[in-house]
């Protein structure tokens, strides 16, 4: 079953639970040591970005969105990778990385429209894998499970579409335009 990810920019509250949930899932956790405090290191697989606030008349334009690999069907990173280190999981369409093949050239970063690629200490590509092992166990992805705002949803494209439509109906019913 193809998987799609939906990130609700109107719902995210910028709490950053998704980032730490992702670290728990994907990073080993030996304690990093006090000397590393206050010095930001490499990027996370998932990051929260802010737009706004901008105030126009009575409206506040401000949104947050957590961004990780979007698992594009026609992923430009797969097309440009000179080592064919990036590939698609056949059933789900999840974009995966063969770390052994990656040479750390970072061309994937040139073409990713979301700026999603992150690189580990060896400079090799690491990507969100949508917690494929959890999905196989019928669990939610770590970020989706943690999110208190229900701003992350992983499902089939049909399920994402249905979720969006339901939200639209609610908005129309309540007369709220967001």
């Amino acid at each position: 079953m193809r998987k799609a990810i939906f990130r609700d920019m109107g719902a995210c509250v910028n709490c950053k639970a998704c980032i730490i949930a992702c670290k728990v899932k994907h990073m080993s956790y030996p304690y990093a040591g006090l000397s590393k405090l206050a010095k930001p290191k490499g990027r996370n697989l998932i990051n929260v970005y802010q737009s706004g606030p901008e105030i126009r008349g009575d409206r506040v334009y401000q949104s947050f969105v957590s961004i990780a690999c979007m698992h594009c069907e026609e992923a430009p990173c797969i097309r440009v990778c000179p080592m064919s280190a990036i590939y698609k999981h056949t059933q789900t369409g999840i974009t995966l990385v063969d770390r052994g093949k990656c040479i750390g050239c970072k061309v994937c970063l040139w073409v990713c429209p979301y700026g999603a690629p992150s690189f580990d200490e060896a400079g090799k590509l690491v990507l969100c894998d949508l917690c494929i092992d959890r999905l196989n166990e019928s669990k939610k992805a770590a970020c989706e499970a943690a999110c208190p705002a229900a701003a992350i949803f992983v499902g089939t494209p049909e399920e994402v579409a249905e979720l969006q439509a339901k939200k639209a109906v609610q908005r129309i019913e309540r007369g709220i335009i967001t």
Partner: protein, 711 residues
Amino acid sequence: MSGKKVIQTTCKSCHGGCGVLVTVENGLITYIEGNPKSPMRGTMCAKGLASIQHINHPGRLVYPMKRVGNRGEGRWQRISWNEALDAVANKIKGYIEKYGANSVAIGQGTGRGYNRYTVRLLNSIGTGHALGPAYICFFPWLLTSKLTVGNKLFCDYHGWGGEFPKTQISWGRQLEINNADGEMAVWFLDSLRHAKNLILVDPRATAIANRANLWLQVRPGTDAALALGMLNVIINEGIYDKEFVSSWTHGFDKLVARIQEYPPEKVAEITWVPKEKIIRAARMFALDTPGCIQVGEPPVASSNSTQTLRAILCLIAVTGNIERPGGMVDWVPPDTGPMEDFGTEIRAPRENLKSAIGADTFRLPIGRCHPDTVLRQLREGNCIIKMLHQSGGNPLFSLPNSENVRKALLNLEFISVAEQFMSPFAELADVVLPVAHWLEEDAIWDEHARFMIGAVNKVVEPPGETWPIAKIFNEIGRRVAPQHWFDSVEEMLDYELKKANIKWTEFKELGFLARTGQEQRYYKYKTDYYGKEGGFPTPTRKVELYSTVLEKLGYDPLPYYAEPSESPYSTPELAKEYPLILNTGGRIPFYFHSQYTNLPWVRELQPYPRVQIHPDTAKKYGIAEGDWVWIESPRGRIKQKANLFAGMDPRIIVVQNSWFYPEKPGPEHGFMVSNANVLTSDEGPFDPACGSVNLRALLCKIYKVEGNDDA
């Protein structure tokens, strides 16, 4: 332990309460996530998830220690638990014998699921001196809620009575990023799916501003005026709940007279909120019912907290939102009864409560001392309190005027602190007791007696000789008042659960006890729930819009507005030198007060404190995003990094609270560098009834830090 197992427990990384599943392999935690079967449906925050870095932190205190050098010099010696506990107990007994029970203060920080042990220890030794930040935190809401409706009110986000809140007001709260005061972020956010209106009362565009259909950009410190203005509209337009008001409230006619002093035009001038928006908000809340109001700290950390909260409670009452499904409800606790009874079932002698420092001046929190008065007396060297035993908390960050707080604490003869790390406050102690993390203890989690309690199950062994906080309380208790304490912690936990007819070993399997769905009750005042005569548990058996209790205590029985102690209007001369309004309430979702800046995973997300400045203001002062900025008040100055933020009035700046630098050398750990309470005043004026102090609406000036690139 060997093999792989999943243990169910309850998080206490903030006030706590979220259900957690922890995977343990060969005695080591390999995974942590929310429990999908808990009432929080598996969600967890950054703080709770980062706990696996907390428990493995090399800076953990792992042995009891005593001071060997001068106080605050940072020289310590490892001692045994017996020596440490005997030292604390002998000091308590010695001072009681020499000066009476009130010479001993027992303190804690914010509620972390052990309030009841602090209270039991206080009462079992008979002192009236509970030292802590409650008076500028949730306590005034509990007090005023009790005055007005006789119990505690929580937002009904759950729909158990068939309705969800249709109109919600987020009043200076940011519940979307916290789990404070009996509510949970996830409950609030889920309930928004059912809401028609969301009104945001906040000087800033918070994360939910884009979802709010009305944003009242209130001037800091003027919340009471706004609530009274809304009452004015609702009452004068006759859109209040007439049936509820006539049958179940006391003093409506007097409230009607009072609110005439607050027409929307005048309120607009005071609050900077346009008149039209005040009217719209009032109509929305009165007409689109049911509704609820989440009330945050700003109305409390004010020198007019009692009347501000009373005004908001009157707003909830006249719109008929009390005990109504989707409104505000006093939850029926699980079969255990309110867990806090464990603390209050024994009582300190009445005369000790009455003679607690400040209790004669601030008469509402009956029998509670006033921290600012205590600290002033300590500084002046004429205080009856000789020692403080404190569990968690950090008065250097939570109480106003940090420099004065330190001076006062240094004048105590003895300080013992139960802590997990050598915090700037623990550095001032004589004896330090190492405390286990919630992943390392068996405990019952409870906070503010709502509808549920949770089982905290030990997942891994605590490091070194650390002990659960419950055991530390019990062992001190056994030494100073054995008749009130227990042979073991398990016996104590069994005792706390006895009303539910359940043992700790059964409860720990169950995970939590919650009274939800059909088992919860609404409209309790129409039954005999609060007594045979029905009604509310107040002196008039009604909701007291006009408070007979305040009247008896000699305070104004009706809500009113008072201008903040420091503002462009109340102190215009001062405002010439300090032209900006200073709000010290900036919160960070992945830190909890002064905790967790030592955890690399979350520290990476925001390494330094940030002061929010409007871009226009920043430009005026030549400040760019990321610059270090001095923020100076008449009390002192701190520096934080500029965060240009257009979502507020250019006349306001917002600094983040409770910053220190655990990576900096002790004993100070840089606690005076960026700590917001360096800027706040401990001199009052205080709220006349409960003694709270203005922390959210002061005056300041800002200027760029020259030539310094570091904290």
